[in-house]
Amino acid sequence: MPPVVSLKNVNKIFGPAERPTTIALKDINLEIQPREFISLIGPSGCGKSTLLRTIGDLIEASSGEVMVNGKPARQARINREYGMVFQAPVLFEWRTVLKNVELPLEVMGVPKAERTRRGREMLRLVELQNFERHYPWQLSGGMQQRVAIARALAFRPELLLMDEPFGALDEITRERMNAELLRIWHETQTTVVFVTHSIPEAVFLSTRVAVMSARPGRISDIITIDLPYPRNVETREHPRFFELVTMVREALRKGEEMKE
């Protein structure tokens, strides 16, 4: 089986070629295996979103090779092999919750009955089955974000790209959403690439944490998270959890020093 994501010497430079403004990504090499949960963590502006969007072919790498499921990223996007969750929920305000979840299925030509069935199933997964007729503005921020997750999962992508999906949530909701995401990850057997600013969140969720450093954006360290499953409230009290949090923090600090 090929790696789900394979990045070889990926560079991304913003600005016109003759006057490059930012080197957002420099020599990124990364392989992500099926069923992995990889978190990208790093200081603001280090290129996490850029990396995620390069994988999703929302922007093109300046050089290097971006493969998804053994195909160029562009082909994978056209085959609709990944689901994307943005930092903001990005719901269509003219669609009800259910219709929002159905959007990708609609675009992909899934018949109506099947669409509704699958949409409802996904809403149950994120525990919003009682809100299918609501409009986005009638939901709280956390609920909206859950709709966005349901939408990303609706067509059962093999790869889920998430850009700080819980950034706007309070600590308690965030921890609950973390647990829910892990459960969904187990149930759907997807591969996840997850951008976050929170060290505990990265450690709690991931199989591996990729630590990035800024200017130019590089992956400075990759830490394997060997916490046992199932992960739950107790996991967060586990001594190993704290060790790993400290390791990631150290790696982040080292990345900062490398810059100077």
Partner: protein, 273 residues
């Protein structure tokens, strides 16, 4: 912010504005003449552009001054009425919008009528306004103001309600007075909406001034000129066209003036898309 930064930016090749203006005007002129040529339209339907241009320099009547000076005077006359109406209407609209933003009961009682006032075709009541003001010149600014106050009222109301509720709460936490919240928070956040309204109002005030001149028998303005040259359309259509061009110019001029002021005032305010 992130979203805005990383939006797929399309390469927009900027044509220098002056060149663009010249190009578009040239294109319009060519279209005009082409239409005339293709449909074989006579002078009465569509005069040549040069005939209209020529009309500007010909005397408007025998031994009179050239048409352009007559029309410029008329334009100034109309502009004066429009501007006065614009200022009155804008001030009224701002005050009303501010009051409505602060007193929901007044808003609910009166805003439906503010809206209804604009669904009344203005020319229908123009004759009555003229009678009320005994045919004086004041009917021009009054009718211009009538068309102006509406967009300003509505957008001031919307704009004053636009600040983030958390920002309002922040002002509350400072125990700021209503006045302080108004001037330091609500007014600045309302500015973009107010300018949008002022741009609409600029045109509306010119429309109002021209309409007002029609039933009041005022001869000195552009409305009078249009009415007058309309009667001589058969013999000299290019003079009516010249008057209409002048009216168009006044409308565009006032609009551009407000846009420039907007640009200066809002220079430092990030515009919400």
């Amino acid at each position: 912010m992130e979203v805005a930064l990383s939006a797929p930016t399309r390469p927009i090749r900027r044509v220098p504005p002056t060149l663009a203006v010249i190009l578009v005007i040239a294109a319009l002129a060519v279209t005009w003449e082409l239409i005339k040529l293709v449909f074989n339209l006579d002078k009465r339907t569509l005069p040549h552009l040069w005939e209209i241009a020529d009309a500007f320099v010909q005397p408007s009547r025998r031994n009179g001054p050239p048409l352009i000076s007559v029309l410029l005077e008329a334009a100034l006359y109309t502009l004066r009425g429009a501007l006065l109406g614009f200022f009155i209407g804008a001030a009224l609209g701002f005050v009303l919008g501010t009051i409505f933003a602060h007193f929901p009961l007044l808003e609910r009682s009166l805003v439906p009528y503010v809206v209804a006032s604009q669904t009344v075709p203005i020319l229908a009541i123009a004759p009555m306004v003229v009678i009320w003001l005994r045919g004086s010149w004041w009917s021009v600014p009054v009718i211009a103001a009538y068309l102006t106050f509406f967009p300003v009222t509505i957008n001031t109301l919307r704009g004053m309600r636009s600040p983030d509720p958390r920002a309002v709460e922040l002002m509350h936490s400072y125990a700021a007075s209503t006045w302080q919240t108004l001037w330091k928070l609500r007014f600045p956040s309302a500015l973009p909406a107010i300018f949008t309204a002022l741009k609409i109002a600029a045109t509306a005030s010119v429309v109002g001034a021209i309409i007002a001149e029609l039933p009041s028998g005022i001869q000195q303005g552009l409305g009078g000129a249009i009415l007058n040259f309309n009667q001589y359309y058969i013999t000299g259509p290019e003079r009516l066209w010249a008057a209409i061009f002048m009216a168009a110019l006044v409308g565009i001029l006032l609009f551009v003036a407000v846009s420039l002021i907007e640009r200066i005032v809002l220079r430092n305010i990030v515009r919400a898309a």
